[in-house]
């Protein structure tokens, strides 16, 4: 049998769609963890990235952070925190937030630092205060990259939250981990199919968000360079 037939056979059973371990509850859990972690990460990383991009201070640190971050093994971080902190919400929240910060920070920094110097000069020449320059010129121009950073951060949070089922977190990863534990490939495949669909839905959400927050004049240029 193929992956799809396993997944479909599991998904179409009515009992998967009800109760506290049903699919709707698990989807909401996963969206909750993802949304909360991403929100906290964004509140820290977006202002910090804009600040570093505007002042140019700490740029080297940001670039090095991004390089080091890629090598951190998620699974190791999760299990280490859970055996040192116990089964508290911090054990999953810390890794989820920490792993989402670097892409958001680097893209916000790159976006603001990459603003055309002539645009900056023009803004200053028009008599804008530094705060106005940031708010009215630098942030709108950097918006495509800021959204891209959030989107990349969301990819990692969704993936990490799935793996975090191994340390007891709810969400869609539960089906994968529980199914693997009892060798029930149908449940594992159903869970994986739902994770894939959720990851795609998150991408669609960010395509929509990009349309909403990126000014029309910048959207025309396509990919920023």
């Amino acid at each position: 049998m193929s992956f799809l037939s396993y997944a479909w056979n599991w998904l179409r059973q009515p009992q998967q769609w009800h109760g506290s371990e049903g699919i709707p509850v698990r989807v909401l859990e996963q969206l909750g963890y993802t949304g909360l972690s991403l929100l906290i990460a964004a509140l820290i990383a977006v202002p910090l990235g804009i600040l570093i991009g505007h002042t140019g201070r700490g740029a080297l640190l940001v670039v090095n952070l991004a390089n080091a971050w890629r090598s951190i093994p998620t699974l190791g971080l999760l299990v280490l925190l859970v055996i040192t902190l116990g089964f508290s919400p911090l054990a999953w929240l810390i890794p989820l937030v920490v792993l989402a910060i670097p892409p958001i920070l680097v893209n916000a920094y790159e976006g603001v630092a990459g603003v055309d110097p002539e645009l900056r000069d023009a803004a200053r020449g028009m008599g804008m205060t530094p705060w106005q320059q940031v708010r009215k010129v630098e942030v709108p121009v950097a918006m495509p990259l800021i959204v891209l950073g959030l989107r990349t951060g969301a990819i990692f949070v969704v993936a990490t939250a799935t793996i975090a089922a191994y340390i007891g977190l709810g969400g869609l990863g539960r089906y994968i981990i529980d199914g693997l534990a009892v060798n029930n490939y149908g449940e594992v495949a159903g869970g994986a199919a739902l994770v894939v669909l959720l990851a795609l839905a998150v991408q669609v959400f960010f395509v929509g968000l990009r349309r909403l927050v990126v000014p029309a004049g910048i959207r025309q240029q396509g990919r920023p360079s």
């Binding site: 890629r70 090598s71 190791g76 993936a159 990851a199 991408q203």
Partner: protein, 233 residues
């Protein structure tokens, strides 16, 4: 930390490190081999690039654990089940970098090569690809570092890597094992990264070190989408 655990288990640690290195390096190299023709084709026929880029960005959004599971009915609980998704992720990083590398060749250089009598193939191998090397290697560094780290997730479906130390350490409530596993993955990634930096210096002797840094920075700017991928998934 229980330091004595390390020498007592040196043979196992060495074995797991080798397996992890294999699962990390093979996908990056396969990704390079596939992305070169694909990227060159995308650079040459412009209409081909947007669909490839969209496919890559969709694929890149999928969690590795889910992709491993999709493959289990076809490739079983083998190395291949881990290597295929990691190769696909490497492609998502490498193809845009190959395209940008090819596009970074100045038109005047291309025309000069043609005027010197270079055919299309010779121009590609002797002029365009060497100029693209710094940008391609920048992508390869991202790919190999992420693959090494991601390979440990394969342990959840039973494919052996340093991830074994995470699972075993968790089940035995033994932090030393987890810390050793994490430190070795990061060290392995750093070593591969360093090797690639040295390879770039050796392959592009015409670039003075400061210019190389500049080239890498330009590459990062040109490719914000690929500037920070990899890592946890």
């Amino acid at each position: 930390m229980t330091w004595s655990w390390i020498p007592q288990n040196a043979a196992m640690i060495r074995q797991l490190t080798l397996e992890n290195a294999y699962l990390g390096i093979v996908p990056a190299l396969l990704g390079l081999v596939i992305s070169l023709p694909l990227g060159i084709a995308c650079a040459r026929w412009k209409w081909f690039y947007p669909p490839v880029l969209s496919a890559a960005s969709v694929l890149y959004a999928l969690p590795s654990l889910a992709l491993f599971i999709v493959l289990i009915p076809y490739t079983g609980l083998t190395d291949t089940t881990v290597i295929i998704p990691l190769t696909l992720f490497s492609l998502c990083v490498l193809v845009p970098n190959v395209v940008d590398g090819m596009r970074s060749v100045p038109e005047s250089v291309r025309q000069a090569a043609t005027a010197m009598g270079f055919g299309a193939l010779r121009r590609l191998v002797q002029v365009e690809l060497p100029i693209a090397i710094p940008v391609v290697i920048a992508g390869l560094r991202v790919a190999v570092v992420s693959s090494i780290s991601l390979a440990s997730v394969g342990q959840l479906i039973g494919v052996s890597s340093l991830g074994y130390l995470f699972i075993d350490g968790y089940q035995r409530d033994f932090p030393t094992e987890i810390i050793v596993g994490g430190a070795l993955i990061i060290a392995l990634a750093l070593v591969c990264d360093l090797v690639l930096v040295l390879a770039r210096r050796a392959l592009t002797p015409w670039q003075p070190p400061s210019r190389q840094r500049e080239a890498a920075e330009i590459a990062a700017r040109q490719q914000p989408a690929a500037a920070v991928p990899g890592g946890a998934r």
